[in-house]
């Protein structure tokens, strides 16, 4: 008994450490972090034992096949699978052929030839130019780029912003990001939309969820969110702003952000516009250069416009109002 106590005293940390680890993996439902690699190793070993006589090349190939479809491993994040499981299936990110911008995508970014003939898809109307007070009854919903617009877009008292860093389409309506005067707890965009009415609603999200689920899942969810917003704001005109591209340099960095994916999403977003109540605005016209991506002088991290250049966006919006 005494010895046992001594053992516990001496080794309590490592024991606690392991116990909590078990609690953690169970609670977070992340045992796959160990199970998957173990399965892979197991598959490799068993295929090695079974196919001993084969050449080394053949072995590794077989191992890959056994481990692949059998375990149905989700590439990166397990939580994605749980939360957005319905989109996690199928072709991840709609195929990954080719590293550079697709021809079509490039042609889609008119570098400089911004004019009113470039009217939004599915809309008969021309753009018109307005003053800031046009935005008095406008709402902007979006991620950190829209936060930038709020803080540095020179909107002063015009317009309302429901914007937050990291906002994505999945949490668009139920993340508590809207401040209510005299109330400590923020409310969700959904609640805010059922309390206040707007005439125009500008939306830009789509970069934070580039690595979540698939293209189809993103668009499906976008569609759902749009129809919910329409329900809550029957008189509002909804303007989908194209997801702002990043600089070509940032795009080539090799993480989950790439202009190729962003352009694909924008192409699909364009299709959501009906020209009557939902419109599509390609704000990339305002900030891209001949490289196809965001103009590098406008940004220090390749993603966000510097404060100095955010007014370009505002000015562009002022001259691209859909009647």
């Amino acid at each position: 008994m005494k010895e046992n106590q001594g053992f516990w005293r001496r080794n309590h940390f490592i024991i606690l450490f392991f116990l909590l680890g078990c609690v953690f993996f169970t609670g977070a439902r992340r045992w796959d972090l160990y199970v998957d690699p173990a399965m892979q190793v197991g598959a490799r070993i068993s295929s090695f034992l079974a196919l001993e006589t084969f050449a080394w090349d053949g072995n590794t190939q077989m191992a890959g096949e056994i481990a692949g479809p059998g375990e149905a491993r989700v590439p990166d994040d397990g939580f994605e699978e749980e939360e957005f499981g319905q989109f996690a299936e199928g072709d991840p990110d709609g195929g990954e052929q080719g590293g550079t911008l697709p021809e079509g995508g490039e042609g889609d970014l008119p570098g400089g030839e911004v004019d009113s003939q470039n009217a939004p898809e599915g809309s008969q109307s021309e753009f018109k130019t307005v003053e800031l007070d046009y935005f008095d009854d406008a709402l902007f919903i979006g991620d950190s780029r829209v936060v930038g617009l709020r803080d540095y877009g020179k909107f002063e008292d015009h317009g309302t912003f429901y914007a937050h860093e990291g906002l994505n389409i999945f949490r668009l309506l139920n993340q508590r990001i809207v401040e209510v005067p005299g109330q400590r707890r923020k409310i969700t965009v959904e609640d805010a939309l059922s309390q206040n009415q707007f005439a125009k609603i500008y939306i830009m999200v789509g970069i934070n969820e580039l690595d979540i689920g698939t293209q189809e899942g993103f668009i499906e969810t976008y569609k759902e969110r749009l129809s919910r917003i329409q329900e809550l704001q029957p008189d509002a005109k909804i303007i989908i702003m194209s997801i702002m591209l990043v600089t070509e340099k940032r795009s080539r960095k090799g993480d989950f952000i790439s202009n190729k994916k962003l352009i694909e999403r924008n192409e699909a977003l364009k299709e959501l516009a009906d020209g009557e109540r939902i419109f599509y605005l390609d704000v990339n016209e305002a900030i891209t250069d001949e490289s196809g991506g965001m103009n590098p002088t406008y940004t220090s991290d390749g993603i966000h416009l510097k404060a100095k250049y955010v007014p370009l966006w505002t000015e562009w919006l002022k001259t691209h109002v859909i009647e």
């Binding site: 977070a28 803080d151 860093e165 955010v310």
Partner: protein, 447 residues
């Protein structure tokens, strides 16, 4: 492989230490070398063969430097030593100046190996005759990539024989968790504020926001590097070595000079022992002392990076230190209590800004904004309030932690069970944070 990556925490640590534990004592160094090699190869493979090759050469040079005394021999030894030291530095310079990036860990490795050669040359220690021990000394994964720079004599005995066991392992693990928490929960979180200053653009920040940015950068750097050093020391203890402390609450210093005796201590000692003292230190009069300080600080700047801002950084700190030397001769200065701390924070924050911004034009804009000079563009006057609202609490926690109370509590209670619980919870909290960041390599950076 980063210490704070899932790969390291969830796979490398358990697998390596399992092997390490079952390895018989005589072969522990071999296991450590194999583990270190695996660890090293998980990082950047850019010129990964440079370090092993250099170890091989330096091993023989070390033995060559040791041959018996004699006037003829002595001259040969001197030539060999100078050649070897210059050669090692030349490799470092070559990569720093003309190549795209450095082979992993080369800066720290070069300083370790030069310290070894110098110690052998000066007869402070015998050369290492076992290649296994030699490679273990230079290449062990706890200190391979970012130090602490450890002199060979401090590790000599442990390389030969050291005690490892459950007690030491757990003690080391606790230190490791402490460091991991600093890095993951504080440094990465505080860094967001600095990232916000960057993305806003320096020409558009208020002077308050500029100082907040500088403070957040200072805290981020501290908890990043201090956390990393703690993790290294912890891992070192887990494999049975006592690596030297690298930080001693620098932000409590009363002068810049003091600060750099407490910040990255092992680098400061290296410069002192192998540059400053050999140049004559402070024994040759005021003028020589100042020259020597210049030499040390320019070299320090160069070691950190080759862009102009690092040169300016070294120069700025050197001027501060010289100024402190002069001022300290005024009698009443020694009695001041608060002013020295204010002076320290003021100068150190400025120095970190110089350190942080490689583009000198941008740097000028930032410094101007800090002092409210020049024409700002599209400033949001309440930017600093927004920043405080979002990051104020974590920034205050950071500053509080830099005062060393947590370290005291840790030392005092680390063997208690409740501290064990706290640390174990912290570890899994860190893992959870890293997991939540998912495939996003910038843990907390969300757009």
């Amino acid at each position: 492989m980063e210490f704070s990556s899932l790969q390291f925490l969830l796979y490398f640590i358990p697998v390596f230490f399992l092997f390490y534990a079952v390895t018989p004592k005589a072969f522990k160094n071999v296991t450590l070398i194999v583990g270190s090699f695996v660890f090293y190869l998980q990082g950047s493979l850019y010129f990964f063969w440079v370090l092993p090759l250099s170890m091989l050469v330096n091993f023989w040079v070390g033995i060559g430097l040791e041959s018996p005394e004699g006037s003829e021999e002595g001259r040969k030894k001197e030539i060999l030593f100078v050649l070897a030291a210059v050669g090692n530095l030349a490799v470092l310079c070559h990569f720093k100046l003309w190549m795209k990036e450095l082979p992993l860990g080369l800066s720290f490795y070069t300083f370790s190996v030069i310290s070894y050669l110098a110690d052998v040359y000066q007869g402070e220690t015998e050369a290492e005759r076992s290649p296994i021990n030699f490679v273990t000394y230079l290449g062990m994964f706890p200190k391979l990539i970012s130090g602490p720079i450890t002199s060979y004599p401090t590790l000599k005995e442990s390389l030969e024989e050291r005690s490892v066991g459950a007690a030491k392992f757990q003690d080391g693990l606790k230190t490791f968790v402490f460091g991991l928490a600093y890095k993951t929960l504080l440094a990465d979180r505080i860094g967001i504020l600095w990232a916000e200053v960057e993305k806003t653009g320096y020409e558009s920040v208020t002077w308050r926001f500029a100082w907040l940015g500088a403070l957040s950068y200072a805290m981020m750097l501290y908890f990043n590097f201090y956390g990393y050093s703690l993790m290294a020391i912890g891992l070192g203890r887990m494999v049975g070595f006592e690596l030297p402390e690298n930080f001693n609450l620098p932000y409590l210093s009363r002068s810049v000079r003091d600060f750099y005796r407490r910040w990255h201590v092992t680098l400061g000692l290296w410069f002192r022992k192998y540059i400053y003292i050999p140049l004559g230190g402070s024994r040759k009069g005021e003028f020589h002392t100042i020259l020597n300080l210049f030499a040390v600080w320019l070299f320090t700047g160069f070691w950190h990076g080759v862009t102009l801002n690092f040169f300016l950084w070294g120069l700025f700190l050197c001027l501060c230190i010289i100024l402190e030397r002069l001022i300290s001769k005024i009698p009443f200065v020694k009695e001041l209590v608060i002013t020295p701390h204010l002076w320290l924070w003021f100068t150190i924050l400025i120095s970190w800004v110089i350190f942080a911004i490689p583009d000198v034009r941008e740097l000028e804009i930032y410094l101007r904004r800090m002092f409210g000079v020049g024409n700002p563009v599209n400033v949001n006057p309440s930017d600093w309030l927004l920043a405080l609202k979002r990051h104020g609490i974590v920034l205050v926690i950071g500053v509080f932690c830099s005062f060393g109370l947590l370290e005291k509590a840790f030392q005092k209670w680390k063997d208690r069970i409740f501290m064990g619980i706290v640390l174990a919870v912290l570890f899994w909290l860190c893992v959870w944070k890293i997991l939540a960041a998912g495939s996003n390599p910038f843990m907390y950076v969300i757009y």
